[in-house]
């Protein structure tokens, strides 16, 4: 996997009202890169859910806390073959994520809550968490299926 070129970097605050701005930006970016409508919606959903988790859990609803979203075009391996992909990294300075709690939830019971991580994992090809320099870092990758993205896009 190469490091890839930076396509978009957004610095936002932990305010729920900011989510729609990021969704619009990500949707436009995914469309420009050539993702299908379904995959574009998946990318937008995964990022929105990740931001929601940061706001609710890492920052426990506290507003005005910093969040960074970086998007890069990368080559990611699938079945031993490098394929074009979108890498999205979200960073926050909130409470450490407890890896034991990142197991998602069983979907065989009808209850609200706990769906966000499930949505992220179902929507993306890779979802990885790590704690680094007092920051939570979430890396997600979505492979670009079908046609190659246009040069310079």
């Amino acid at each position: 996997m190469s490091r890839g070129s930076l396509l978009l970097k957004v610095e936002l605050r932990s305010n729920p009202e900011a989510l729609c701005i990021v969704r619009n930006a990500l949707g436009q970016l995914a469309e420009t890169l050539g993702f299908s409508d379904t995959d574009r919606r998946s990318v937008v959903l995964a990022v929105d859910e990740a931001l929601t988790n940061i706001i609710r859990h890492a920052y426990q609803g506290k507003p005005e806390q910093p969040i960074e979203v970086s998007c890069r075009r990368i080559q990611a391996a699938q079945d031993g073959v490098l394929k074009p992909a979108l890498e999205i990294v979200l960073e926050d300075r909130g409470a450490a994520v407890d890896a034991k709690k990142l197991c998602g939830r069983a979907l065989d019971d009808v209850r609200s809550g706990g769906l966000g991580l499930h949505f992220m994992r179902e929507s993306m090809d890779a979802v990885e968490f790590r704690r680094r320099w007092h920051r939570n870092q979430l890396r997600m990758v979505k492979l670009l299926r079908g046609s190659e993205p246009a040069e310079g896009s």
Binding site: P16, E17, L19, C20, R23, D37, T38, R41, V44, L45, D48, E49, T52, I55, R56, L107, V110, R111, S112, G113, L115, G116, H118, F119, E122, S123
Partner: protein, 110 residues
């Protein structure tokens, strides 16, 4: 997100438009639970035709309303689901637990 209500005989229709996310889902939850728990409406119909996006907090509000409807013996019916909303409900594996109608006529039919 915007919500407006229409009142028919023993039925309330809530027309919802815009995005249902962390910022707006508390308002939706409040509107749904008000009709079900306070107004005790026998049938609550949710028109989602103009909803462009729903996230897990929106799904959670719908699940909570469904539970409230079961507690109060009411019916909660959704209609007008577009691809985005349908995909999210499918992803949550909760699509089958909701009563879903294709049109408003079906949703309010006796």
């Amino acid at each position: 997100m915007q919500i407006s209500a229409r009142y028919l005989d023993r039925t309330t229709i809530l027309d919802v438009s815009g995005d249902i996310d962390l910022a707006s889902s508390p308002e939706l939850r409040k509107a749904l639970l008000r009709e079900l728990r306070e107004m005790r409406i026998p049938r609550l119909v949710l028109n989602l035709k103009a909803v462009e996006y729903v996230d897990s907090s929106g799904v959670a509000s719908l699940v909570e309303a469904l539970k409230a409807s079961r507690d109060t013996g009411s019916r909660l019916i959704l209609f007008g689901l577009n691809s985005a909303v349908r995909e999210v409900l499918q992803l949550s594996k909760l699509l089958k637990i909701f009563e879903i109608a294709e049109t408003e006529e079906q949703a309010v039919a006796p």
